[in-house]
C-alpha cells in the first residue's frame, strides 16, 4: 500500500536527468506546464532529436506537419518562462535516443564495441537503444543536410540560442571513449578506403604499416579523428551563428558492459554508479543520469548527483563569462591538480601518478585531453599542472612557460620531448637568470623557480623502471614539497567522498573560502571515516545528514554512516 501520492512517471521520462528536457516524450500541449514545473536554476539541455524531425529522407519537419516537432513553439515557451535553454546536437550516436538518434531510414549498420558485440544501451525505461555506425557515408551526407536545415530554421526565426555539439561517450578503463569510436565492419570498410587514399598522398605511412602492425591502431585513430572532424566542420559551417563548440557527456549506465548488469534487477544497484560518477568528473566530462530510472536514484546516488552535477559544474563547462559570478558563490569540486595528456597516452597510469592521486588526493585532480591554453584571465594558475613533453608543440610549450612566469607550479615530463623544446627550456632558464637545482631522486630532476613559479622536470622513463613503491614515494615527496594544505581523511573501503569549495561570503570573512567534504556510503554495511584536525581548517557545520552520525573528537571528526547514508561537513579554510 502506498501512502503518498505517486509521482507521475511521465515527469521522469520528460526530465530524466538533472537538467535534460526530452520534448518528444510529452504531448506538445503539456510543454508549457513542463517549463513551469522545472524549478532548477541550471540551464535546460534540449537534445535535438534528428530522427524525430526527419522521418522521411525528403522532408524535414520543424513543426510544419507535426506539433511534436515544433521547435519554434518550444523555444518561445522557454523564453516566456525565462528558462535558459541550450540546444544539444549529438555529433556521435546518442545513447538515450532510439537508433542513437538517427532517422530510421539511416539505421542500417550497427556499431560494435571493441570485443565485436553490437553496442546496445539500456535506457531509463529499460528499453534497448541500438547504436549505428557514423562511418556510413550516407549518414554523414544526411547529417550535413539536417544541420543545414536546422541552421536555416534557427536564423530565419531569429533564435540566438546556443547550440553545442555533444560528444557522447563512456568510460573505458577510466578514460573517456566516444561513441564515435566504432569497431564494426562499416568502420573497417571506411578505414580501408582511407588507406587507399593515403597510399597516394602519404605513402610513408603505408610503408610503416607494412613493417609495424601496431601502427594500424594509430592510423585507425587518425581516420576516426578525421571523420569526426568532418561532422564537426559540417555543424560549425551550417549553424555558424549559434554554434558554441563541443561538450563531452557520459551517461551513467551507458558503457558496453552495463547492458548485462542493467538487465538483471538483482544485479543492478545504485552503488555501481557512484565511482563512475566521480571518474567522469575527474575526466572533466559532464555526467548525466538520463539512462537511469527514477528508482535507481532514490538514496545515496540521488544525493551524490545533486551534490556533484550542480549548476556551477554545468556552467563551468559552458564556459560563459556571464556565469562567472555564480561560479564564485556556488560550490565547485575542489581541484588541486590538472593533468594534460592525450587519450592515447598512458603515462599518467604507467608512472603511477593516477594511482598516487587516487590514494592520496582522490577526485581532486582533472585529466584534460586537449592542449593547454593560457588565457589572460586564467583562474586555475594556483593549481598544480602536469604536462607530458612527448606530444607538446612549441605553441603549447610557450603557453606552459607563460603559466610558469605567472606563478604557476608545473611538473614536466621530459620523456621523448623534442630537442627543440629542450633547447628552448634551457635558453629560457639562462635568459631569465632562473635559479635552478639538479638532483637525482628516482629520476634526474631539474627544479627551476622564479617567484611563486616552479617547474620540475623529470623523466618518466626512469620512473617507470622503478618499483610501484618508489614511484609513489617519488610523487609523495614532490607533492609534499608543494605544501598543499588538505585535511587528512581515513576512510573505510567502499566509502566514497568528494571535496568541494566556494568563496566565502560577507559573514565568513575570517575564511578565505569554505570547503565541504561529502561522504556517501553506497555499500550495504555500516562504514566509518575520520577527518584529522588541521590548523588551516575550522569546523563550521554538518549539512544534509542522512543515516549518518558526526562526532567531534580531540583529534578531529568521526563520521559514522549507515548503509545508504550520506553527510556533508563544512570547514572554513584560512592560510
Amino acid at each position: 500500500m502506498q501512502l503518498t501520492t505517486p509521482e507521475l512517471k511521465e515527469y521522469d521520462s520528460v526530465f530524466p536527468g538533472e537538467n535534460w528536457f526530452f520534448y518528444w516524450k510529452t504531448s506538445p500541449a503539456l510543454w508549457e506546464s513542463k517549463f513551469q514545473e522545472y524549478n532548477d536554476l541550471s540551464p535546460i539541455f534540449i537534445p535535438i532529436y534528428w530522427g524525430l524531425h526527419c522521418e522521411d529522407p525528403d522532408q524535414l519537419d520543424f513543426g510544419t506537419n507535426r506539433p511534436e516537432t515544433d521547435l519554434k513553439r518550444l523555444f518561445t515557451l522557454a523564453e516566456r518562462y525565462r528558462k535558459e535553454v541550450i540546444l544539444i546536437l549529438p555529433i556521435t550516436p546518442c545513447p538515450f535516443l532510439t537508433n542513437g538518434g538517427l532517422p530510421s531510414y539511416l539505421s542500417r549498420s550497427l556499431m560494435c564495441a571493441e570485443d565485436g558485440r553490437v553496442l546496445t544501451i539500456v535506457d531509463n525505461e529499460k528499453r534497448l537503444n541500438k547504436l549505428f555506425s557514423f562511418y556510413d557515408p550516407r549518414i554523414f551526407q544526411s547529417f550535413r543536410k539536417f544541420t543545414w536545415h536546422l541552421g536555416q530554421f534557427l536564423s530565419q526565426n531569429g533564435f540566438n540560442k546556443e547550440v553545442f555539439g555533444a560528444d557522447f561517450g563512456y568510460l573505458k578503463e577510466n578514460r573517456f571513449e566516444s561513441y564515435f569510436r566504432d569497431y564494426s565492419l562499416t568502420f573497417d570498410k571506411g578505414f580501408h578506403r582511407y588507406l587507399s587514399q593515403i597510399e597516394q598522398s602519404e605513402p610513408e605511412k603505408i610503408e610503416k604499416l607494412k613493417i609495424d602492425k601496431l601502427y594500424e591502431q594509430v592510423l585507425k585513430e587518425d581516420y576516426s579523428s578525421l571523420v569526426k572532424g568532418l561532422y564537426l566542420e559540417a555543424a560549425n559551417e551550417t549553424i555558424p551563428a549559434n554554434w558554441s563548440g563541443v561538450l563531452k557527456f557520459t551517461c551513467l549506465g551507458g558503457a558496453p558492459d552495463d547492458i548485462f548488469s542493467r538487465s538483471f534487477e538483482r544485479w543492478e544497484s545504485e552503488a555501481q554508479f557512484i565511482k563512475p560518477l566521480l571518474e567522469i568528473l575527474v575526466n572533466d566530462i559532464i555526467p548525466s543520469s538520463v539512462l537511469l530510472s527514477k528508482n535507481m536514484k532514490t538514496n545515496v546516488l540521488k544525493k551524490a548527483l545533486k551534490d556533484i552535477v550542480s549548476q556551477s559544474l554545468i556552467k563551468t563547462h559552458l564556459n560563459n563569462d556571464l556565469y562567472e559570478e555564480d561560479l564564485h558563490t556556488g560550490y565547485q569540486p575542489q581541484v588541486l591538480f590538472k593533468v594534460f595528456c592525450s587519450d592515447a597516452d598512458n603515462l599518467i597510469e604507467s608512472t603511477s601518478l593516477k594511482y598516487f592521486f587516487d590514494r592520496e588526493y582522490q577526485w581532486m585532480y582533472r585529466i584534460h585531453n586537449q592542449p593547454f591554453h593560457y588565457p589572460q584571465d586564467y583562474e586555475d594558475a594556483e593549481k598544480v599542472h602536469f604536462f607530458f613533453g612527448k606530444n607538446l608543440s612549441l605553441k603549447d610549450f610557450n603557453q606552459i612557460l607563460k603559466l610558469f612566469l605567472n606563478g604557476g607550479r608545473i611538473f614536466l615530463d621530459s620523456f621523448q620531448m623534442t630537442q627543440e623544446l629542450s633547447r628552448k627550456l634551457n635558453l629560457f632558464i639562462t635568459e631569465n637568470s632562473i635559479e635552478t637545482e639538479r638532483i637525482n631522486f628516482t629520476s634526474p630532476l631539474l627544479k627551476a623557480s622564479l617567484g611563486d613559479g616552479l617547474i620540475v622536470v623529470y623523466d618518466s622513463a626512469k620512473l617507470e623502471e622503478a618499483s610501484l613503491m618508489k614511484r609513489v614515494t617519488f610523487w609523495q615527496t614532490m607533492v609534499k614539497f608543494l605544501n598543499l594544505r588538505i585535511c587528512k581523511l581515513v576512510i573505510e573501503d567502499g566509502l566514497m567522498y568528494v571535496w568541494k569549495h566556494r568563496g566565502s561570503n560577507t559573514y565568513e570573512l575570517n575564511y578565505e573560502e569554505i570547503r565541504r567534504v561529502s561522504f556517501y556510503n553506497p555499500t550495504s554495511y555500516r562504514k566509518k571515516a575520520s577527518i584529522g584536525s588541521s590548523q588551516n581548517y575550522a569546523f563550521l557545520k554538518t549539512v544534509d545528514e542522512m543515516s549518518a552520525d558526526v562526532k567531534s573528537t580531540p583529534v578531529g571528526i568521526d563520521v559514522d554512516l549507515m548503509p545508504g547514508g550520506s553527510v556533508s561537513i563544512d570547514f572554513g579554510y584560512f592560510e
Partner: protein, 123 residues
C-alpha cells in the same frame, strides 16, 4: 547457489575467449573462475580465459557449474549474441537471449545430489 550461468565467447586468433561470465546475481566471483580455469590454462598463454575448442568451453562450464552448484549454463557466441540482440526491444527480451540462442549445458551433479533437511528449506 546460482540459478543459471551465462557464458559469452568469441573466436579470435585460433582460440576461444570467454568475454562474459555471469548469472542473474552478477558476475561469477573471479576467485572461483581462476580456480576452475587453472585446470585449462595452457602454459605461456596470454591473459584472459582462452580455450582451444567449443568442447573445451563445455568442459570448463561443467566444472564451473559443479563448483558453483548451479543446475545449468548457456554458452553463446558473439555472432549469435548479435543476432539475438537485434531482435530485442527491452531488457526482458534481452534476458532470454542466452536461453533462446545459446547452447544448454547441464550440471551432471545437480539432479543426483541428495537433499538434506536444510537444502529442502532453503534452495
Amino acid at each position: 547457489m546460482e540459478k543459471e550461468m551465462n557464458i559469452l565467447y568469441k573466436f579470435e586468433d585460433n582460440s576461444y575467449e570467454i568475454i562474459q561470465l555471469f548469472s542473474e546475481n552478477g558476475p561469477i566471483p573471479s576467485k572461483i573462475i581462476t580456480s576452475v580455469y587453472s585446470e585449462f590454462k595452457r602454459p605461456g598463454s596470454p591473459d584472459g580465459l582462452l580455450l582451444s575448442s567449443i568442447d573445451e568451453i563445455g568442459r570448463f562450464v561443467v566444472d564451473l557449474l559443479s563448483e558453483t552448484d548451479s543446475p545449468e549454463g548457456y554458452i553463446l557466441s558473439i555472432e549469435d549474441y548479435n543476432i539475438g540482440v537485434d531482435s530485442c526491444l527491452d531488457t526482458e527480451q534481452f534476458r532470454e537471449i542466452f536461453r533462446r540462442f545459446g547452447t544448454n549445458i547441464q550440471n551432471p551433479d545437480s539432479g543426483n545430489k541428495k537433499k538434506n533437511l536444510f537444502t529442502k528449506f532453503f534452495n
